[in-house]
């Protein structure tokens, strides 16, 4: 095994981890505050992909710029969805069947509307740098993958700073820790939930734009990423944002390196990812972040 055989998968895994983290952040935010498993997350990512596609085809706008524009657009969309649908759900400390069914139904609606508008053909965005790569000796780094990685990492960092420094971020963290205590100290739960849903949807749309730069998409886009998002947020700890980053790195590393083992074919990759989900649920129900937190508390 040469140095290139070690570096290539490592770089690929890191680049992949950035994308995974960005696509899971939206789901984590919504679950953390509202205890809703947002199955429509896949549908919103799909809409994000088409958002970038339309801007690229009509105005030749680079998808990286579309990703920034997607944030306020999908934030407003998320707020509208919350006002229309989500606010009617009964509050609960645990995910409810009603919330699962509602978000699943909403996902189906989004898929069908997208089919009507864009048909079921696969689309792709082909920028001037989509197929180009930088070469460092025998190592090649795809320009578009690096750009997506940088955008994803920046978004996670900005989100973390916002959650720590802003009033809204503190409200979110307070509600995640204890919604009742948060209300006692003056946090408006309903307003926080509404803004959180908007923020989660914004990140989902943002992730969809980034993913559209890497993959072809159709109205069914988002399904395999939704399942990976589940794995990541369970792995990282269902309500932890730093856990999302950890979970993304772990999943990306496991997916990339496991198939390098002789005898393990690339077609086993989905089984490995979902097997990891099962193992974590059984062994580490609070995820890696929960394990680290426990260790930190016990010293």
């Amino acid at each position: 095994m040469t140095l290139q055989d070690l570096l290539d998968p490592l770089i690929a895994a890191l680049l992949l981890a950035g994308v995974y983290a960005a696509m899971s952040a939206g789901m984590t935010i919504v679950y953390g505050v509202m205890k809703i498993v947002n199955l429509a997350h896949a549908g919103v990512m799909m809409l994000g992909a088409y958002f970038a596609y339309e801007l690229f085809e009509r105005f030749h706008l680079d998808p990286l710029i579309s990703a920034v524009l997607a944030l306020p657009v999908f934030f407003a969309f998320g707020m509208a969805v919350h006002w229309l649908l989500v606010r009617w759900l009964p509050r609960s400390d645990q995910p409810t069947l009603a919330s699962l069914l509602l978000m699943f139904g909403f996902w189906l609606v989004l898929q069908n509307v997208a089919s009507l508008i864009w048909k079921n053909e696969d689309r792709s965005i082909n920028t001037s740098y989509t197929l180009e790569s930088w070469r460092f000796g025998d190592i090649a780094i795809s320009k578009v993958r690096l750009a997506v990685f940088i955008a994803a990492v920046l978004s996670i960092v900005i989100l973390q700073i916002g959650l720590r420094r802003s009033w809204f971020g503190k409200s979110i963290r307070a509600v995640i820790q204890n919604p009742y205590a948060a209300q006692i100290v003056g946090v408006d739960y309903d307003r926080t939930a509404r803004l959180t849903f908007g923020l989660g949807t914004a990140f989902s749309g943002f992730a969809g734009v980034l993913l559209s730069m890497l993959y072809s998409f159709s109205p069914d886009f988002g399904r395999p990423f939704l399942l990976r998002s589940f794995v990541i947020i369970v792995l990282g700890g269902l309500e932890s944002f730093s856990g999302v980053a950890l979970g993304a790195v772990v999943l990306a590393m496991v997916e990339t390196w496991s198939i390098q083992i002789p005898g393990v074919e690339a077609s086993y990759q989905p089984a490995i990812s979902y097997g990891l989900l099962v193992v974590v649920l059984l062994v580490l129900p609070k995820g890696i972040a929960g394990l680290l937190e426990r260790r930190w508390r016990t010293g």
């Binding site: 992949l16 048909k119 082909n126 197929l131 072809s216 198939i259």
Partner: protein
């Protein structure tokens, strides 16, 4: 209580309406007696929507030409062909259900369909159950025809022959001095009978021609994957000289995009029967240059019937045929019509018997003759085409029909 009919409509009008309804019914009945319904079960939506649409167009063009010429001759009486179309949405469960519906409740005389191998395999269980001839124009895996089905036919030559033709082509390049002997091959194929047949064809040729090539990597991937970077990583690590994949259209586009993004390069590269499609050129631009593919038909074949087909297709759809899809479907309908004429009846079993013997001597397909072997599958040679700079797709093998020299190795 008197009905509304008696209250609102005068007696003379009631009589005329009744008479008109009877006449319409009689006309429809008479028309139905002069038509032969052909079920067409293909995907025009979903992952395989584009190739399915092209095949549908091929079938519809054939129906139009036959009907415009008066229809199918059955013992001196002319019958118009009527298409009954079902979109299976690229879903195999739906494909089976629609085929069953066509054969049972809709009682079509025959069914044409089954693009691709996965959907074809699913549909293939129905024909014998309902004793209705079924011709696939888009599924080429040998396994479909190895079950002993009596009503199953296919206009695609076996996929294993794509593999052996591909290896034969590469071996020819070695003999010409364009490639060195002993090169290493990496293969990544779809996890279907289509992929298995492709690998078998290549390995059989390599086995019979020792010293030409060595297979250093051979793995399968799942259809419809979004990310091939792990697989491509392994292909890269294998240090192969030639990369051969067997993939359907969308997987080809996704995989090749990631291939290019990872900066990979091989002396020759192929995606099986995929390569020259317009969708791939649109998605990947010049990135598709130099890819070669073993296909069931090329518009560059020098037959007069091919030139006529190209003109008719352009007039019918407004564009040129994309790769081979429409041609195999066009001939599937034509050979079915020929079988109905030969059978001299619309009895399905007799049509099946005729399909076993009939021969289409003005076929578009390589060799110019289409007929079914004893297992129901057609057998004719493949051609190799290569995407060349300037948006050109040239026929590069066999040499006797080549329109340009192959570019090898890839610059």
């Amino acid at each position: 209580m008197r009905s509304l009919l008696h209250v609102w409509i005068p007696r003379w009008m009631r009589f005329n309406l009744t008479l008109a309804a009877c006449l319409c019914g009689a006309a429809l009945y008479a028309a139905a007696q002069n038509t032969i319904s052909i079920g067409v079960v293909l995907p025009t939506s979903g992952r395989e929507g584009k190739p399915g649409q092209y095949q549908k167009e091929g079938i519809e063009l054939a129906i139009k030409k036959i009907n415009d010429a008066g229809g199918v001759n059955v013992k001196g009486k002319k019958y118009q062909l009527k298409e009954v179309f079902y979109d299976d949405g690229s879903d195999s469960a739906k494909s089976v259900a629609l085929t069953e519906r066509a054969m049972s409740s809709d009682k079509v005389t025959a069914v044409i369909g089954g693009y691709s191998t996965a959907l074809g395999e699913a549909e293939a269980v129905m024909p014998d159950r309902y004793q209705t001839p079924w011709i696939t124009c888009g599924a080429g895996a040998t396994s479909i025809f190895a079950h002993g089905y009596q009503y199953v036919f296919g206009t695609l030559s076996p996929v294993s022959v794509i593999g052996s033709t591909t290896a034969e082509f590469l071996g020819g390049l070695v003999d010409q001095g364009k490639l060195k002997k002993g090169l290493k091959i990496a293969m990544a194929v779809e996890n279907t009978d289509h992929g298995i047949d492709y690998v078998n064809g290549i390995q059989q040729w390599i086995g019979k021609h020792p010293g030409y090539f060595t297979v250093v990597f051979n793995e399968k991937f799942e259809l419809g994957s979004t990310d091939f970077s792990g697989l491509l990583q392994k292909v890269k690590s294998s240090r192969a000289d030639i990369f051969l994949s067997d993939a359907h259209l969308q997987d080809y586009i996704v995989m090749h995009r990631q291939y290019l993004q990872s900066g990979m390069h091989h002396q020759m590269i192929s995606y099986g029967a995929r390569g020259p499609e317009a969708d791939a050129r649109k998605a990947l631009g010049d990135g598709v240059n130099y890819i070669f593919s073993g296909i069931w038909w090329s518009s560059k074949l020098p037959y007069p019937q091919v030139k006529q087909f190209l003109a008719d297709y352009k007039q019918f759809t407004g564009r040129d045929p994309d790769s081979w899809y429409a041609a195999t479907a066009y001939d599937a309908l034509r050979i079915l019509a020929a079988a109905i004429t030969q059978a001299g009846t619309t009895d399905k079993t007799k049509i099946r018997d005729a399909l076993r013997k009939v021969s289409l001597t003005d076929s578009l397909l390589p060799g110019g003759v289409l007929k079914f072997e004893s297992n129901g599958q057609a057998g004719y040679p493949f051609v190799i085409v290569q995407n060349q700079p300037g948006g050109k797709v040239e026929l590069v093998y066999p040499k006797s029909a080549a329109t340009a020299a192959p570019i090898a190795p890839v610059p």
